[in-house]
């Protein structure tokens, strides 16, 4: 059975994934739109930067974040001055780390969804008197709905599986930074194999169900928004 500590770790993981995904959907939408529409010559630089977390060892990302978060660093220092606590080894720090770590999993499906809409529906809307903002709300958002679903689910699922980044910038503080993957690692380290099993199976089932949802959404919309 899952212990209270395991449940706390699981709930913390879900909370982290939910908040990170929400932030990514909000921040990622304009970025994905720009990537889908821009004809800027050096767009590929931005695209590569967005994709970087796909290939970078999480420890590298974690290492640099730790430097930035440290109270001696500019961002970490400003945060400490404002809130009286350190960004490193805090839940807020984990959220920032997760947002960067899961960025390509949200932005790329959105970018693909926006690209596949094409220019024509936007032109039609313009000839019918719709402003750009109106067009985005009334045409782009509904047509990109499967893309948003995929992006949300993938971002969420990917954050659930985060380990290396958390390990470095979060540590292992129960209720604050001890997420499920870290708790499993702890159990294994201390030979609590049954406990590890329970948490592992829970994560496995959640992840599998989420991925099934992504593929079901893709199938229904007939598009291939999951080209990450």
């Amino acid at each position: 059975m899952l212990s209270t500590a395991d449940l706390t770790a699981l709930l913390l993981t879900l909370k982290l994934a939910a908040i990170s995904t929400l932030i990514l959907l909000i921040l990622g939408t304009p970025v994905a739109w720009w990537l889908a529409k821009s004809r800027w010559r050096f767009k590929f630089v931005v695209e590569a930067a967005v994709a970087l977390p796909l290939v970078l060892p999480p420890t590298v990302l974690g290492f640099y974040l730790l430097l930035v978060f440290s109270p001696a660093g500019s961002i970490g220092g400003a945060y400490t001055a404002l809130f009286g606590q350190s960004l490193a080894f805090s839940f807020s720090g984990l959220v920032i780390g997760s947002v960067i770590y899961s960025m390509p999993f949200v932005i790329q499906p959105l970018q693909n969804a926006f690209s596949s809409i094409g220019q024509r529906p936007l032109e039609v809307a313009a000839t019918l008197g719709a402003s750009r903002w109106d067009t985005f709300i009334s045409i782009v958002l509904p047509l990109a709905k499967p893309g948003f679903l995929s992006a949300g689910i993938l971002g969420f699922a990917h954050t659930l599986g985060e380990f290396g980044v958390v390990m470095i910038i979060g540590g292992n503080i129960p209720g604050e930074t001890q997420v499920a993957s870290i708790a499993i690692y702890e159990h294994v380290e201390s030979m609590q194999i049954a406990q590890a099993h329970w948490l592992a199976v829970t994560l496995l089932v959640i992840s599998f169900v989420l991925l099934m949802l992504v593929y079901a959404v893709n199938r229904r919309s007939g598009s291939n928004v999951m080209r990450v």
């Binding site: 024509r120 032109e123 809307a125 000839t127 019918l128 109106d134 709905k145």
Partner: protein
Amino acid sequence: MSINFSFRQQHGEFDLELDHAIPGDGITAVFGPSGSGKTSLLRLIAGLDTVPDGRISYGVQQWQDESVFLETRLRDVGYVFQEPSLFEHLSVHENLAYAVKRASNKRDSKTQSAVYISYEHAVKLTQIETLLERDSASLSGGEKQRVAIARALCASPRVLLMDEPLAALDRESKQRILALIPVLSRDLSMPIVYVSHALDEVARIADHLLLIRSGRVLGSGDAQTMLTELDYPLAQSADAESLVEAVVAEHDTAFNLTYLDSKIGRFSVAKQTLSIGENVRLMLAARDVSITKDRQSGTSILNIFAAQVDAVVDTNASQVTVKLMSNGVPLLARITKKSASSLGLVTGDSVFLQAKSVALL
């Protein structure tokens, strides 16, 4: 109110030099081969594309000049694209409602033109009453295109731009929409700019013709004249044809014929389901018109009319094109050089033309 435009752009291999006016009434067909710049012109008129230093005005409204660029959404145009571009997440009714809701956005406060085409009117004109509750993705190509036209009308534009709207459709849908376009133009007194490279479509619906080739305007004028003008490529093409406006005069039940009166005389055609007094357009293919010096008596051909030779020009190694005038109506005949020589045709000759077949458009 005419549309005046001037667009110039040197763009690699493609030079655009379009400087002309489109009449503010009737149907103007922008005709030319693929890649000649027809669609570019239409997109520039709508403001979907832009070239530096372009100028375009519609009546008193300046859409683009040195200091102004009116966005597409504010221009008084409706646009029907080549492929039916319905919003597939909306039903047919919702597609139309989308345009109705935003129709007032287009109204320029300076010109105060009112929303004047109602939803019901647009639906009726395009004959889509039975489609309203349908899913837009479930419609056939022709149905989608009729809905797209209705949607464009729902925005209450003053000018309707159509970019080869029939290119992707089957024959039956084409005929249905071709019949509908002149009705729209008349009923709403709306100028329509119709881009096409299909001569049969143009001959059927155009009042005016704007010929475009390689990004330049070759010429413009009323369709009847332009089709038969020997200086333009249409009259020299293999499908050269002449237009004759006619009125249904009477039906002959004994021989199953319909008689049509025109300026050049009475045509006999196979019996049609048309009412007496109805206006129709006849098309005479130049290759189906022959010329005789005297009126033939022992012939099976019914449609024989008196005419004068206006000009004779070489078309290819063996054929000439003869332009004839019959009571002010220009007509073309494509005959062999040998026939022209043995008839001794010269300008001003009185002759008779025989039309082997007549197409009712």
